[in-house]
Subunit: 616 residues, 2 copies
């Protein structure tokens, strides 16, 4: 089935299912009407199918595709061997229909399960997953905002994999500063516009896996206001689509170049020239002008969460590969025998520094996954409760808003750090292409940059998300942790860690109060200076809470049932013990940094702002 | 002169000379007899020549060589275009003779200047610098321990660049665990031995730039003790060298493979098979058995410092490239105008988050350079005072010993982090091959692994260096900082930071005391668990001290002379202000982590040790 080599993708389905069902109780969503057409059993079957797809189809292509990369020849981009077949299989198995609403022709699956499916596909082959990820995002935007005609013309073809999708925001001079976009739209007739401009950094911007590429292009209609408020969103297919759905002539969308990148080399990142020969046409999405940013943000919010999930996917397989290497590689003797040259050699997993690296990776991977799935559960519950209990739905949606920048930024930054630790666990073997971790490291670096750099995420958090709805979302977030701390601060074996979480949460509140002071005294440059530090602080408190929450549950299962060996298998006993260890490790080795960060935020040092440019 | 493309190497000679002459007063070494044949002017001329060599010869080859890599064909390794010529020029200009003692035919230059030369060459082209770095190390070992005959036969050819050198320690099953080496030596006649075994990860192990490669091979003479104590060091040339110095027949050293690596791709990392056809001969170095580890450690100690210096070189050019990009790239408007879409666009250096990244890079690069040069100055003073004031010489040598693992590990870890920040400063542009930072990131990752992983460095620090000579070296180290704190805690504009350094130093002492408690109570696994954390702690205290020391000097120059515009140029005024900002930033944003780390060390959490293997 595969044109590639050996599969290097590793996942821990036991850990994923613990988080889904034993910890977050995701099966609760099936009790709501919105998801009542589904069951845990069906979702588990889909997960199993995804695991097979990832380990048998895309996983074995990951390394070979990285070496070959994409190729632009005579204006057409070619993907590496095996991608076409993998694309076809992806759609045949119905994965792309899973998250799409039922009334739009999809399966209507919950985001919690979809996030796991994304994690698995991204972890197995990040570059390949870009094409379907963008297609999903673009089709979701068309489903949400398109006219009936637009939906008919594009949506089913995208769900079937005949058309793929992109989002075209960046321009050579306008990356983070989207509002400076210069791409122009001139009305031809009704919703039909002429499009002119150059877009760059377009993921999945051109390829050979299907018939057509549907670009969603941000452009400014002549006479529209400057900045983001004057941007509209256009559907611009690579090949024109006739009224009967058949393909017409090319639409003057020229692939000017594809980038040569550090990683995700099999993902075509294109420079696209629209209307170079004055012949590019596009349809105004939904027929509504100057709402392009809002429309695009539906995709963008989903994409930001998806980037965090990509990070989790790559970090998880990096960790599990390093774990597997540590279980096999023999080197050195036990620390206690360090003076005896004849002491027996051991597997490196016996060295405490290796265990430290492994447990740091494990605790971060599992903590970040829990965070992403908790966000996803909030989303599912908001969907399920909409129109039934709007107050609760609003609560859940507020948590989605609040946690989105954290998932994007923290999981992407840490994914890179985890791949670094994975390389270090391998030693020299991690630095060579014989093992997969060097590619994971290269692939992961983009996550902190695209879909809004991590500083953009931090700004979103501190300047918008903390204060929206009068700060209610943040208050609700804090209250949940405080309740947990109150309930569990005397938990045997975890009480110290729970109380430490309480102190870290107070530090987080102090950090937030300092930011508000900066805002009040118009020290905006001081806010932006420490925004990333604040985001990290909040992420680490959040993850500590979730890991401890998981540990409390794991402990109860282990301790309650542990006396009777028939009730908890030795494997489960070790698994639950691992959950407790992960929480303790994170709280004792990672979370203490929260206090340094809040201290740094509060110290108010302005050296980076005050240094003269000539002082660098 | 160059076969490559554009030079991307950037350096800040003003900053380097500040550290050498204004801060560390390195010119003091020329007053000692040992270095009295040299002057600052001569050294500056050599530095200038090195800058020209780096920016005109090896810098322009860095990117092209990375893309081509090395190639093994019919048992011979070929380096990328331009390397042969660059190698020839390197020796013609006399750089390789500079650090070699005068009585061994060298120039007898001080290590302080040599470290700067190494930084510049490594920063311009890390892969290329590997070949000469190993050659220098190997020739220094032969100069130190070789018999007169061995010196005659190999040394001058190595100083002239006709022969290169390597160090062959690792074997497939013996990396960090050198004592498990299986390579065998069987006496043929006198110091002549037959050598059999496989060595791997051999940097500069094979290439086409000169006539011969002189391998220093660790092997066990038949019947020698097990472990490191039974290892001897052999001179094993690739091509046999006749008594008259002419080349004889090949010496049965077969290059089995070269590695395909994440970075330093133009540095050949070879698997070498010695005596596959039973025809490999080598000479016992110095004619002394079972002292190979001690002999090798002369090279190893130098190599460890050199790896730290490599890190500084790559980090420095990554920082300066990011700085240059930030000064040119226009994006977004000033933070205070965030609500006005028509506000003028600014260079990204005006954004405080970009300034934060730049100042973090600057403070770390300059702090690490000061650390490496301070270590080098200790070394020079130890050399200068040997036989004249042995107590002082011992003091200085003790500081070299103590600081070596810190320079190796901290500078290598942080080099990678700095290249990460450089990529982030560029945004998407940093992720593509059009800019040099993605290569810097790939190249830098090896530094934490080779010449003893950073955990090996941490073990060396906590289990040997802290306690050697009854802990005297560490006490002297602490005393110097305490004296500085006492002298400057009321320094206007820096007093808060100096007092914070005092507190961090106390935390460091507490951390060291905790480690001693672990040792006393035989909790060796607990020591190894937190050894890396302790090394980081000590490194950050050290660097904070050095940056503050520099800031005090810079401040005095700026403040004293600042009133008279003729005395301090605007450039110098900004430069000195930058030194103060760098110190304040590091103390306020990086050094606070020291307290979290010492807290984590003290908390004594054993979760990483106690977790059952099945819990990962």
């Amino acid at each position: 089935m595969s044109a590639g080599g050996q599969n290097n993708y590793k996942l821990d389905l036991r850990a994923i299912k613990f988080t889904l069902y034993e910890h977050l109780n995701v099966q609760q969503v099936f009790e709501h009407e919105r998801f009542s057409h589904l069951s845990r059993e069906e979702c588990d079957a889909i997960l199993d199918q995804c695991v097979r797809y990832a380990t048998e189809v895309t996983g074995p292509l990951n390394s070979s595709a990285d070496r070959v990369g994409c190729r632009l020849e005579n204006g057409q981009t070619f993907t590496p061997p095996g991608f076409k077949e993998a694309w076809k299989t992806l759609f045949e198995l119905g994965f792309m229909a899973f998250p799409i609403a039922q009334d739009a022709g999809g399966f209507g699956g919950p985001m919690t399960i979809q996030s796991v499916l994304q994690e698995i596909r991204s972890g197995a082959n990040t570059a390949f997953s870009m094409y379907s990820g963008l297609t999903h995002g673009a089709s979701d935007v068309i489903a949400s905002f398109g006219t009936e005609k637009q939906k008919t013309r594009y949506l089913s073809a995208m769900i079937e994999g005949r058309f793929s999708g992109t989002m075209c925001l960046s321009e050579p001079h306008a990356g983070s500063d989207v509002g400076a976009s210069r791409t122009k739209a001139t009305r031809l007739d009704g919703n039909l516009f002429k499009i002119t401009g150059t877009k760059c950094w377009i993921s999945a911007g051109d390829h050979d896996m299907c018939e057509n590429v549907v670009h969603l292009v941000l452009a400014r209609i002549e006479g529209a206001p400057s900045g983001t408020k004057g941007l509209s969103l256009f559907i611009v297919p690579k090949v024109w689509v006739n009224d009967d759905g058949s393909l017409g002539e090319p639409n003057d969308v020229i692939t000017g170049a594809i980038e040569h990148k550090l990683g995700i080399r099999a993902s075509a990142t294109a420079v696209l020239n629209f209307g170079e020969n004055d012949g590019c046409r596009g349809y105004l999405l939904g027929g509504e002008e100057n709402v392009g940013i809002r429309q695009m943000f539906r995709l963008m919010n989903g994409a930001r969460i998806a980037v965090g999930v990509q990070g989790i996917g790559v970090a998880s397989t990096a960790y599990l590969n390093a774990l597997s290497y540590a279980q096999e590689r023999q080197q050195g003797s036990a620390a206690k025998n360090f003076k005896d040259p004849n002491a027996p050699r051991v597997k490196i997993i016996e060295h405490s520094d290796v265990r430290r690296m492994l447990l740091e990776m494990k605790s971060k991977v599992e903590g970040m996954r829990t965070l992403a799935l908790k966000l996803s559960l909030h989303y599912d519950l908001a969907e399920a409760l909409a129109g039934k209990d709007d107050a609760k739905a609003k609560y859940h949606l507020g948590q989605v808003d609040l946690l989105t920048p954290i998932v994007k930024a923290y999981c992407s930054d840490q994914a890179f750090r985890i791949t670094e630790l994975a390389i270090q666990t391998y030693g020299g073997a991690g630095y060579v292409e014989d093992h997969p971790v060097e590619q994971y490291c290269r692939d992961a670096k983009i996550f902190s940059i695209y879909e809004g750099t991590n500083h953009i995420q931090a700004l979103d958090l501190v300047s918008r998300k903390l204060t929206s709805h009068g700060g209610e979302n943040f208050k609700n977030f804090l209250q949940e942790i405080k309740t947990f701390v109150a309930d569990h601060s005397s938990q045997p074996g975890l009480g110290d860690e729970v109380r430490a979480l309480g102190e870290a949460t107070e530090a987080l509140e102090r950090g937030a109060a300092t930011l508000m002071d900066f805002f009040m005294s118009s020290k905006i440059d001081q806010v932006t200076l420490v925004a990333n530090l604040f985001l990290e602080t909040m992420a680490e408190v959040t993850i500590a809470h979730l890991l401890l929450d998981a540990a409390v549950i794991a402990k109860s299962k282990r301790d309650t049932d542990g006396d009777d060996p028939d009730e908890v298998s030795p494997e489960d006993f070790a698994f639950y013990a691992g959950k407790v260890s992960a929480a303790k490790f994170f709280v004792n080795f990672v979370m203490p940094g929260v206090h340094s960060k809040v201290g740094a935020i509060g110290a108010g040092d302005r050296s980076a702002i005050d240094i003269p440019d000539g002082g660098f």
